[in-house]
Amino acid sequence: MKFDIFVIPFLLGLNFLLIYIIVRFTKWILSLNTEEKCKLRKYIFSFSLFKSLKEINQEVLLHRKIFKTNPLLGYMHMSLALGWFLLILVGNLQVKFFSPDPFNPPHYPIFLKFFEPNPPSYPFDKAFNFIMDLALLIVLSGAFLAWIKRFNSSLFGMKHPTVHSRGDKLALTALWFIFPLRLFAEGLSAAIYNNGSFLTNTMGHFFGSILPAEKLIYPAWWAYSLVLGTFFLALPFSRYMHIPVEPLLIIFRNAGITAKRKISTFAQIEINACSRCGICIDKCQLSSANNVRNIQPSYFLRNLRHHINDFDVIQNCLMCGRCNAACPVGIDSTEIRLAKRIEHNGYNPFKYDYLPSINPYRTDVLYFAGCMTHLTPSVKKSMTEILDMSGISWEFLDKDGTICCGRPLLLAGQLESARVLIDKNTASIKASGSKTLVTSCPICYKAFKEEYNLDIEIMHHSQFLLRLIEEKKISLKKSNRTVVYHDPCELGRNSGIFTEPRQVINYSAHLLKTDYENEKGLCCGGSLGNIPITNFQRKKIASEAIEKMGISKAEALITGCPLCKKTFAEVSDKPVMDISQLVACNLIKPKIEETKKATKKVMEDGAYSRS
């Protein structure tokens, strides 16, 4: 006898869930464009697939990323995922050893203690019972932690967990009750038949001593089946959809499919893979400095999933990428937000018919200061001094006025308008015939790298300064000054340049460590990514960042971005300097005659020959 009426809720839920997932996944795969399909096909039939399987094991089951940042939270997620997975896997194996029938119904291993309360002995029966009890104990410990977290999340290092919708709460409650009810039902079974192992037997005898086991056992199995069925029914519409979608996301991402600039299939998968764990909320500086708690990816992606187009939520984001760096699922929500902004701002593009075409002199190194650098003349002056002294052939592209790089427009969702500026700048850069483009502004750097189609080397000035130092074109003296380095978002986290600025600083000063280095770098609040933010809010973010970085021990704050410099300078009581300023300060200047000779030689070589 392998059926009882109480398994119907479970079977209904499970079948619904499986059909839903199959239909949804098939739809997603079919909606990929030809190029993406080709990529996916190639990837699935290659050995790299094993990499994805490894990643799925590490992230979906073991939750390595959460473990790294928060061990307790990591254990909670791991115990639930791994424990439940073990229960399913070992339960099915146990049935294979136990029953000669190769095809057992899906409910049979789950309610095994009901169908076979007194089994004849089979190989490894004690071991199986032990492992099953151990897995149940692991899951229960996770569920217990989840209960505590719901009532006091600060114990888990989470100040502001996600405020869940009603559907999510229903699914959450069902999930909480699944494992205690399993323990209860199996415990009662053990109380009557003594068929458990260390956990179910002990708990069972305890239940049996205070409750009428014989009467309660059948309702207990019903309750277990009902709760399982409810959870499966609610899963596709709740945050738990991330369980089936995350493995798919990992495979798609590793196959090289991206969500560039539109809400494509990949973006849909990312939206569904968000577990609304709320780790992004505490990382967001709008939350920590300004108590804005409705715009973080957790809520933003939920809005998108329910087709709510709240424009304020889409706009109000610094685009600093701290949430992406912390996301345990690896969702690039900034890209999705950008796609949404472009969707909303596709009307009436800006017109720039007044822009002149700039034709710089032909040169090896082209220096593009950018709008923000023109606003901080000290950076411009330092760079001019250093470049002049190095004796290389260089030219100032935007000396008499900058055509913006286009990234501010892009961040505002004005893709079409940005294209006009990009084309203008591309034309003048190509006309210069230079091999290297150096910029002082990380915003421009990112734009040149990602939006422009230039086949020349693009460098931030910190990288270029390092090269000049290493090639001995300039030499620095090391001062006793102690400094703190601030990673600008666009340079560090969003472009991956962490080491070069630090190396340059190490040549000329003593660098102190902070708690917010590299990927964890803080946003200055001046970001051009956020449009509706008020001046007051910006200043609060800047003050908070200064406070967190603890610059009181240092003599100066060094940054690589003119915008960050200007924003911090308003609120910092210590001087804020750009890397180029620090280098210019510590430059060992050759004697005047030598400089004159060097300049003359350059002139004779024709590097400065101007047509």
Binding site: F350, M372, P408, P532
Partner: protein, 113 residues
């Protein structure tokens, strides 16, 4: 009638009372900080686009506050949104949001027509 060589000038005085203040009201709703502008002109001084053409945010704000919206769309479309004006504004006006909201509003008005 004899030709005197003179003619009567067309009246070019602007009667602000005839202007529709609704536009200004709506704009202040979407970006309240614009009320604190004291027309110092720093924004116009640093403007990247202002290097190449006649573009003055101070003028735009003056026009908006008088609800003179005839040429506004053309003026606004010159902006490159680089954000220098936001950074230098001594009154903390969120100029980028002002420009985008103004453009959106003008666009809505045109669609409504």
């Amino acid at each position: 009638m004899p030709e005197w060589g003179y003619k009567i000038n067309i009246n070019n005085q602007i009667d602000l009372d005839f202007n529709d203040k609704k536009y200004l009201q709506k704009l202040i709703e979407s970006e309240p900080s614009v009320k604190s502008c004291f027309a110092c002109g720093t924004c116009s001084g640093v403007c990247s686009a202002g290097n190449f053409t006649q573009l003055s945010l101070r003028k735009i704000i003056a026009l908006v506050s008088r609800s003179e919206i005839q040429d506004l769309s053309k003026e606004l479309s010159k902006c490159m949104l680089c954000g220098k004006c936001t950074l230098v504004c001594p009154r903390g006006v969120n100029t980028r949001n002002f420009i985008l909201s103004a453009r959106k509003l003008l666009n809505d008005i045109e669609i409504a027509k």
